[in-house]
Amino acid sequence: MTGGRGWNRARAGAGPGPDFVVYAALGAISLLSLAPLLYMARVSLGVGGDLPIAPSDWWGRPLSLEHYRDLWRGGPMGRFALNSLLVTGVAVPLQILFAAAAGHALARSRFLGRGMLLALATAFLILPKQVLLVPLYLLFANAGLLDSYAALLLPHLADPFGVLFMAHYYQTLSPELEEAARTDGLGPGAIFWRIVLPISGPGLAVVGVNGFLTTWNAFLHPLVLTTSESMRTLPVGLALFAQSEHRVDWGALLAGSTLATLPVVLAFLLFQRQIVEGILKGSSR
């Protein structure tokens, strides 16, 4: 918060309504923006697939972990969650490492095609990703890699957001430390691992948490590049589950949705500042 208390007081005092109105309105809006999620969690903790659970029923109806137990027993939801965890768990560390390496190289060295690469990466960032669906499908089909973990994982590694973010991060970081290490006789590899990476934490946190959100929530390419149920990720599995011909089991479906949301809540609670920073950086282009 820039400006400190004086500015805030001035702004608050200048408003048409008293503080109370501001807080009441913000409270109502906050509740409204969280209500559908609380509803999701409440239905998932209910018994059977019954809807609706009106606010008056929230305390009256029994609570149970039935739907969550079912997820792990018979249903394929456990497998979906495992696939999502696996893909995210491998993709995000690689994204972080790639972003640091490529961002650092782009910021500190000059090579043929550097400007071109930066321009292409920036353009790619705003490109509608749906253009890639057909060619990615055909490429993976030709390579015999449809319906594989490679198909779920590899497209995530091309995302230029982290690279551009880190290139900018290193440009604003003084190269003095690295120069000193170089005069001490360290090679570029050692400088990267021992000097650069340890001071990249704040930037890599932004890259990591935003990479986590996009990978965990990814839908389009996991939908198109997989064909068998056992290869679906959580979002794809949930969406297709909701389309099944049978009557929808809302309890199970919203339990799965809650399961897909919990890691996001955790990431949000831990890294809210980094998420917002990533969004603001991404939007200023």
Binding site: M1, G6, R9, A10, A12, A14, G15, P16, D19, A25, L26, G27, I29, S33, L37, Y39, M40, V43, D50, L51, P52, A54, A102, H104, A105, S109, F111, L120, I126, L127, P128, Q130, V131, L132, L133, V134, P135, Y137, L138, L139, L154, P155, L157, A158, P160, P175, N217, F219, P235, L238, A239, A242, W250, S257, A260, T261, V264, I275, V276, I279
Partner: protein, 288 residues
Amino acid sequence: MKRSARPLGVLPWGLAFLLFGLIPIAYAFGLSFQDFNPLRPDRTSWVGFANYAAALQSPSFWKALRTTALFVLGTLPITLTLAYGVASLLSRARRAQSFFRAAIFFPATLSMVVISLVFKSLYAQEGLLNGWLAAGGLPRVPWLLDKNLALPSIMLMDVWSSVGYYAILILAGRKTLPDDQLEAARLEGLSAWEVERRIVFPHLRPVLLFVVLLNTIRAFQIFIEVFVLTRGGPLESTLTLVYHIYDRAFYHFEMGYASSLAFLLLAFVGGLLVIQRTLLGARAEAAR
């Protein structure tokens, strides 16, 4: 001057970017000029601009554009007004601002699949909204099955899920306003309303323009919402360009045609970005 880094570091990402970013785009561009069905690769042929011509003459393509236009016209005024209001409320909150900000922003981090599933349950025949209607003695409404209601139902969900995101962008814009400018305005005796109208609003204009652009670009790219809630129906009333691309490519295997649709999408989005750059550039010129 010797450097402390080698260009080699670009390689891991650069390779992935080339293989799964640049080459696919070039591939898709080539496909858009071919008649290509992966089930009958032997019948592949170059057809020039025939795919593009067919798209421009296809009723579904225009329906998809109409959906996008309706979506923008229906959501943008509401989303923008609400986001502006929420941002100014947030800027007035002295205490607990970070709590309110977090609560309001949180939906932006959610998976669109999850959001769509929750709203599907709310809109269901036996869902919460109909439960309330029934409790009030009113008839149940087939929110997603009525061709006049399906799109507005999706639009309502979009407003809910995006207001917080845009509010945070606008709030960030408000915070870049220099304090002394506000202080000076207050000393001149301007009312809060006049400060908002004459100082804050003009300052926020680039951010607001960006929100307008972002909302429009997102409208062109709607897919998950439609995939989960309506599958483009009823009667193509919620058909979007991306759903149309998906449907043509992966249900009808018309991959050349689908690629031409994808490049039309690219052209629309690119055109919007050029317009935004021009407007912002013109404003920067005028400010000088």
